[in-house]
Symmetry: C2
Subunit: 328 residues, 2 copies
């Protein structure tokens, strides 16, 4: 399960193949960990919530950022020690799974009747519809804990992820998902129904609710690649993650307003129905699309000033295009 | 905020004073962290759920185990480096707060209408009654994330908790609270309503639901004191934690069956009303009390074979008596 960086020098990367390979590794790892040791009902609910579903955008961002640093850093920064290199690859895979677990738990809780009361997600009935509300809440709770379990293997598990990297990954992920991050953003969202939010508040909400976890994905990958938090490449990748976090939400709002439910795999038009403020209600459809394009340009510009080799940045660049130009 | 071990040699410890001092430190630290950076509504719900309430048994177990190791280990094992010692004390305080955050989040979610539907906790209306179900669910989610934030301070925060200790504490706490631990136990509980559980299943449920977190409290304290997982003292403290976990739940069942709500600060007799299996329904009142006393004896016996100095074990010994002989 170690992540061997691909050889970017030889030929342009086939991004479909790249995604397929990486998604298969993530799916395999998740299916090994999710529900392991859980009583039957809880394990079933967790597997239903996590496996075989979703675009896995956050795991791909982790792995793309990791490989950008591994393959794209100056030769002097390359890790010589094979065991350490295997440990870093293992860490990147674990980080990819952990961030998906946090994302998936937030969807389970978000869909519950006391929150968005949604019955459709990823084209399937939501977890509480299938397993009941109590089991859905517990499954979400256990998925959050599992994210932090996955990040902290002991010496007998995995390929020896360095302890300081384990602690750093937990630090990044917990902050991004907690009171000042994702959960905080959801609380602002909750309070905003029927309110006229100004643009600054809307941006703050989305910076926390969606943006924090997307940015954390990029940072976790970069941390697995060995980047220190104060270097130029770290700051450039963080700026990329920040722009992508905003762009993702803007495109989400555009799709919610323009696509039917069966394309989205979830109930469309809910935000407008709930009189929730969105980028579309604030900027209009055209304005929102222009803003997403501007953020794409910002993200690509950030990559170009990272100091990492162009070829190694191809997956991150491709993911940025996919985020902005997706249709569901 | 460093935890300076008290001088156990000079005179018997005043355990009321010991508890008061340690509870004040935990309360002060929690009040600094809970809600920090959260939007107003979420922060209010979190503070309501965590601050000024509860017996804080788990934090006291963390700190008692930490001090037992710091003060009671052979002189050769004592940490000479003052900065490292301060870092370990800081880690113990953080571990104490983290385990309380996990415990408090589980109560918030447990009390919700889709779970136990309880309106009274620690003598106050439950979180969802005051703040609504959506905010209660989010507050619980954010409290779980905060537990892991608190365990992973960066270099600029706190007194320099070593990275390997940070990772180890996350590992212990995440496993104890997740799919194979607390959340798993709650799922068994959920499935058990109206079922005739045998004693083995009841014990398995409580080992996960309550026992795992109590045992983790002792282990986290021991880890902060520097104990390796394979040594005699670690195994003895783990056995102590295991016995206390079971005893706690048995006494809980006895109190639920015998004490009025205003003494407990929560709704009494709910388990029997819900036809839930309990130690009292399984063993009878007298049998349950005898079992609790036997577990107390086991716990004290485990302490005595830990190899730690008797005087240093006094807080753990006192907490064991308090757990078994409490009246609420």
């Amino acid at each position: 399960m170690s992540a061997v960086p691909m050889n970017f020098e030889s030929q342009p990367l086939d991004m479909n193949l790249w995604s397929q390979n990486h998604l298969a590794r993530v799916e395999q790892a998740l299916s090994q960990w999710v529900g392991d040791g859980a009583p039957a009902g809880l394990g079933d609910a967790m597997r239903y919530a996590v496996l075989d579903g979703g675009k896995r955008l956050r795991p791909l961002l982790v792995l793309a950022a990791y490989e950008a640093v591994c393959s794209g850093a100056p030769a002097s920064a390359v890790v010589d020690d094979a065991a350490l290199r295997a440990g870093l690859g293992e860490a990147a895979l674990r980080a990819a799974c952990a961030v998906e677990l946090i994302h998936a738990y937030s969807l389970v809780h978000d869909d519950m009747p006391c929150m968005d009361n949604d019955v459709l997600r990823r084209g399937k009935p939501t977890v509480h519809v299938v397993f009941g509300e109590a089991q859905a809440m517990l499954a979400g709770d256990a998925m959050q804990a599992l994210a932090f379990e996955v990040l902290t293997p002991d010496a007998g598990e995995g390929a020896g992820v360095p302890a300081d990297l384990q602690a750093r990954l937990v630090r990044i992920l917990a902050r991004a998902s907690g009171q000042a991050g994702m959960a905080g953003g959801q609380a602002i969202d909750l309070a905003s129904v029927g309110q006229a939010l100004d643009e600054a508040t809307l941006r703050d909400m989305h910076r926390r609710k969606t943006g924090a976890l997307l940015r954390a994905s990029v940072q976790m990958g970069a941390a697995c690649g060995g980047l220190q938090a104060d270097c130029v490449a770290w700051q450039a990748l963080t700026a990329y993650g920040h722009a992508m976090g905003l762009a993702f939400q803007i495109v989400d709002d555009v799709l919610d307003a323009t696509q039917p439910s069966d394309t989205l795999g979830k109930t469309a038009g809910k935000d407008a129905d709930a009189n929730k403020p969105t980028y579309v209600s604030l900027l209009g459809l055209d304005g929102a699309r222009q803003e997403a394009d501007a953020l794409l340009a910002q993200a690509l510009s950030a990559l170009s000033r990272s100091g990492l080799a162009d070829a190694a940045l191809q997956p991150l660049s491709d993911l940025a295009h996919r985020i902005v130009h997706r249709d569901h």
